[in-house]
């Protein structure tokens, strides 16, 4: 007998018990995976299946003073074609209409696109370039083209979006607007305002946790972003597009004319220090000019004669000299130690006042003034220059400001000649912006304001931060000194003997100082030897609105190199155009036809009105209007009857005004 029912049951319990035990082991293993190795696998899960994605914020706009966009971020689309994913029939059917459409949009002939597409299909190219950097509206068009409208899988359309920085106004002030890049380590680099104010423009990256659902496919977890992206703030620049445009083109024209190496212009609002225009143009190998480096801010060089202003102010402040003090410049050459200081005027200026010496830019007079005035105590001179903030950087937010150089006695490079050299702008070094800042301070009666290029940081219409006028030095010199030199600066242009007189225009006024510095003068025969032509000043000459500096490096010597010739015209055309476009200074002479009767009547009225009356005048025969105005100006109450000329006056002439109060005029 094989099996009794009882035996079957016993064995069944063994098997069932075994299964139960097995179940227990499974549950035990389950718990062990969760508890013992749980951490490890949960970490793995996180690592493998979730990832923090960043959402790029929109970079803020850079806006000019008048609300034009200087720099803004836009999306650009690159279109590529995957020839493999497209079905053969679809391809054959659509290649012609697609090529036609592409040709229509992108310009090249239909056959060109047909060829590209067929080649891609034949070579099984999955990443054929069709068009680069399309804007949004073109991209939307392309999406609707035959074949491409079937989408990425059936139509083979590959779209790559990227955000680029656009300058809607073109290359104007490109270098000052600048750019900013970020590398993979999050390190920012760049130049100009974009870099200097990058922290405002950048915004804050958003974060979103996403979960992997398949290779290359991620779905967002949860409803909200972990960190909402915050768009960058808008920057309102002080740059005025109109002035910038004028400055840019005036400089460009002059650089081209003089085949100069490079040049820069800065226009600054006198009162506030707002930089209205800043243009830097350098030459390429092909002889074209573009915004190459920020020379205006970064390039420190020997200023030459524009530095005479600083010396004159220093000497006046130290009471070493007066504008009327006379210096004997002799024949235009003065020997100091073994060095000769020369004037440009052949034959010299003879005995001239310091005022004239400034206006004619006499090197001899200035060398004498500084050398003789300070040779006993050269440090007094340097300290004076320093007290006028000349040895210090302005401290701009833009990186790369050039360092000014003013040596102290005893410093390396200082010699007995130094005072005489510094007198006309050598052995010192300044950037155009630093020079301009000083000229602006003079125009501002001694108050030195800090140049600035950003007015305001905004988030839509909300102001986040305002950059107000900053005063570097409330008084670089006394008001009197400032007034004195202002007159001289005006004379430079106005007086016939002034170095800037060639710029003179009777229609508007300018004040400033020319400078023609030599560059690389160690060997005057070398190719490198050249000139730096400068004009620094302000306009209008009285109550100036803007200060401006023009610096042009290495003009072609055969064309010209004097500051007044090379840089002066740029200054002038800026002053002229700003003047012409500024409604405040427009004056129009009214043209009036001569009319004898009217003239006589006016003369009569004018004569009467000019007289000082103590008695009631005779107004009989005058026009009612004139009579009323004369009498009322005398404090009388006038009542008129009728119109026309005065026929009768109720108070006869010769009556004391004080006694009469009311006068009735009968007109006919």
């Amino acid at each position: 007998m094989a099996a009794s029912d009882k035996k079957i049951l016993t064995r069944l319990y063994v098997v069932a018990g075994g299964l139960f035990l097995f179940a227990c082991v499974v549950v035990f293993k389950l718990v062990s995976i969760q508890m013992v190795n749980g951490e490890k696998y949960r970490d793995l899960a996180e690592k493998r299946t979730t990832k923090m994605f960043t959402i790029a914020p929109n970079r803020g706009n850079l806006i000019s003073d008048d609300g034009s966009l200087l720099a803004t971020s836009v999306s650009r689309y690159t279109i590529r074609f995957d020839a493999v994913t497209v079905k053969k029939e679809d391809f054959q059917e659509n290649i012609k209409p697609l090529s036609a459409k592409l040709s229509e949009l992108l310009g090249k002939p239909t056959s060109h696109y047909q060829q590209i597409l067929r080649k891609a299909k034949a070579n099984k190219n999955r990443y054929t370039l069709i068009a680069r950097n399309l804007d949004y509206s073109d991209y939307m068009e392309v999406k609707k083209f035959p074949l491409f409208n079937k989408g990425p899988y059936k139509g083979g359309l590959i779209v790559e979006q990227k955000t680029v920085r656009e300058h809607p106004l073109g290359k104007i002030a490109e270098r000052s607007v600048g750019y900013e890049n970020v590398d993979e380590n999050g390190y920012y680099s760049g130049v100009g305002l974009e870099r200097a104010f990058g922290e405002y423009l950048r915004g804050i990256e958003g974060k979103r946790l996403k979960q992997k659902i398949a290779k290359g496919q991620w779905k967002p977890i949860g409803w909200d972003n972990i960190v909402e992206p915050k768009d960058g703030y808008d920057l309102i620049s002080t740059i005025d597009i109109n002035i910038q445009d004028i400055a840019h083109h005036a400089l460009l024209g002059q650089l081209e004319k003089y085949k100069a190496d490079h040049g820069s212009v800065i226009v600054m609002e006198r009162e506030t220090g707002e930089v209205k225009a800043i243009s830097n143009l350098g030459i390429t190998k092909e002889g074209k000019y573009y915004e190459r480096l920020n020379y205006a801010i970064g390039e420190s060089h020997e200023p030459g004669s524009t530095f005479k202003l600083m010396n004159l102010v220093a000497a006046l402040e130290d009471k070493i000299i007066d504008t009327s003090s006379v210096k004997d410049t002799g024949k235009g050459s003065w020997k100091i130690y073994r060095h000769r200081v020369k004037d440009t005027k052949h034959g010299g200026h003879g005995k001239i006042s310091m005022a004239k010496a400034f206006e004619v830019s006499s090197n001899v007079a200035f060398a004498q003034m500084v050398h003789e005035g300070y040779k006993e105590k050269p440090s007094r001179y340097v300290n004076r220059l320093m007290s006028m903030n000349l040895g210090k950087e302005i401290g701009l937010p833009i990186k790369g400001e050039g360092k000014p150089l003013i040596r102290y006695p005893g410093d390396k490079g200082w010699s007995g000649l130094s005072l005489a050299q510094m007198a006309y702008g050598y052995e010192v070094s300044m950037t155009p912006l630093q020079t301009l800042t000083f000229y602006n301070a003079i125009a501002n009666d001694g108050v030195m304001v800090k140049p600035r290029m950003i007015k305001e940081v905004k988030e839509w219409n909300k102001t986040i931060q305002k950059f107000d006028k900053e005063i570097i030095n409330p008084s670089v010199c006394s008001r009197e000194t400032a007034k004195q030199v202002q007159q001289l600066l005006k004379n430079v242009v106005e007086k016939k003997h002034g170095t800037g007189h060639r710029m003179y225009s009777p229609n508007f006024s300018m004040a400033g100082k020319t400078g023609t510095a030599q560059k690389n003068y160690q060997d005057k025969t070398s190719d490198k030897f050249g000139y730096i032509s400068t004009f620094a000043g302000y306009f209008p000459a009285d109550e100036p609105k803007y200060s401006c500096i023009v610096v042009i490096h290495e003009p072609d010597k055969s064309v010209g190199y004097y500051g007044a010739d090379v840089s002066g015209p740029v200054f002038k055309s800026i002053a002229q155009k700003v003047y012409a476009t500024s409604p405040l200074v427009d004056e129009v002479d009214m043209f009036q036809a001569k009319y004898a009767g009217l003239d006589n009547a006016y003369q009569e009225y004018f004569a009467e009105a000019q007289k000082k009356h103590s008695k009631v005048p005779n107004v009989k025969g005058m026009s009612g209007m004139d009579a009323v105005s004369i009498l009322e100006n005398l404090g009388l109450q006038v009542e008129i009857k009728g119109n026309g000329k005065v026929k009768k006056q109720s108070v006869s002439h010769g009556t004391d005004i004080k006694k009469s109060k009311k006068i009735v005029l009968e007109l006919s």
Binding site: I8, F22, V26, L30, I33, G38, Y41, T49, A214
Partner: protein, 397 residues
């Protein structure tokens, strides 16, 4: 409809467990469908749900139909079905649909569905063995005598399944051994059979290795999977196991919630082989243990039903078809927790397994038939009435 409910007989607890598991199965199937739809790009979520519902309704139809069949009919039915099954297996094996050189011929294509013959063969074979054990229970067992009526069909079925589906063959063979053990087949003979079984397997593998191109087989796949389980190299199966473990670990005590599984997107067999891992991920340790308890309760009811059966055949039949369900469930869960190498066994009643789910329903129906007291009332009649042609047929063999 009411009549239909009136005619529901048998163990009510078993009905309840099966119905609950069936209802519950919609959740993981629906959850897993998101992977199929959105990642694989196959069908729609509702489509997968409807398909599952249709399969389940058919399945319950099978349960209902089978449980109305009197228990002793199965003796004869198994005798008739046995040769048919063997023919079907031969057809399946040699229809030659192989995937990349490995034999994936597990299915016969029928209109609308693929039919996995091995699952039907398993049920039929188990009934056949139960019948044989019942028949010889009062006799002294002679090994030689049992070779032809018992082991020949067993080896035929297992041998035909083996090349395409090692794990199913292994499970069937194991279940046959367990059933023989319970049915009182001498232990020493069983050891001999195990030995010869292993010998046959070794022979098969050696032949397959020696002549790799002789016939399509999956020896290399088994080898990979097994080696994988034994050492810890980075392979496809490791990837699956790691994902399963991540699923279990991230599920925690109470789980992420229905449908919120992450790993379903990465586990290739998230709706069948690794469904237990996904269930734990979504319903936590609690859900996993409760599901396990459900299967243990199912085991308990099967034991109770086997115990309560007045006939030895009834007892053995309930165990013959009932135990494999539990066994298969245990294997499936064990794979998910890395107690077992990756096999490819469904979780019975839960996975969206198609026709194999129907075979589970067939088995459940048979167990319910055993528990059906209505059959017992008429049993006395049938004992007298030996005119049942099938009974006579079975007696002659």
């Amino acid at each position: 409809m009411l009549a239909l409910f009136k005619n529901i007989n048998g163990d009510k607890a078993l009905w309840a467990v099966v119905a609950l598991l069936g209802l519950f199965s919609f959740l993981p199937v629906y959850s897993a469908s998101s992977n199929l739809v959105y990642v694989v790009g196959n069908g729609t979520p509702i489509g997968h749900l409807v398909k599952h519902a249709v399969f389940l309704i058919f399945g319950f139809g099978i349960i209902y139909g089978i449980h109305r069949i009197p228990t002793h009919f199965f003796k004869g039915l198994s005798l008739i079905a046995m040769p048919i099954v063997i023919v079907l297996l031969v057809i399946t094996l040699f229809q030659g649909s192989s995937v990349d050189g490995t034999n994936a011929s597990r299915w016969i294509r029928l209109p609308f569905v693929k039919f996995q013959t091995s699952t039907l063969a398993a049920v039929v074979l188990m009934i056949y063995v139960a019948r044989y054990l019942t028949k010889i229970k009062d006799e002294a067992i002679n090994f030689k005598e049992s070779i032809v009526p018992l082991w020949l069909p067993v080896f035929a079925v297992v041998g035909l399944i083996l090349p395409a589906n090692f794990s199913t063959a292994g499970i069937i063979f194991t279940m046959v051994l367990v059933l023989c053990f319970i049915g009182g087949y001498p232990f020493k003979y069983l050891m001999g059979i195990v030995g010869s079984g292993l010998l046959a397997l070794t022979f098969f593998i050696l032949v397959a290795k020696a002549f790799p191109d002789a016939f399509a087989n999956r020896v290399d796949t088994w080898e990979n999977r097994f080696e994988n389980f034994m050492n810890g190299e980075d392979t496809e199966a490791d990837y699956q196991i790691e994902k399963a473990k991540i699923a279990i670990a991230t599920g925690g005590i109470v789980g992420k919630g229905a449908g919120k599984s992450v790993q379903k997107n990465f586990l290739p067999q998230s709706s069948s082989d690794f469904i237990y891992a996904i269930i734990v991920e979504e319903y936590g340790l609690v859900g996993g243990v409760v599901l396990m308890l459900f299967f243990l309760f199912l085991l308990f009811r099967i034991v109770v039903i086997a115990n309560g059966s007045p006939t030895t055949f009834g007892t053995l039949l309930a165990l013959a078809v009932g135990l494999p369900i539990i066994f298969q469930a245990m294997i499936n869960m064990a794979v998910a927790v890395e107690l077992f190498p990756v096999t490819g066994q469904n979780l019975p009643l839960i996975s969206s397994g198609g026709t194999s789910a129907w075979m589970t329903c067939l088995a459940i129906g048979i167990v319910l038939s055993v528990s059906n007291k209505q059959h017992r009332k008429s049993k006395s009649n049938l004992n007298i009435n030996e005119t049942n042609p099938l009974e006579i047929l079975s007696g002659q063999l």
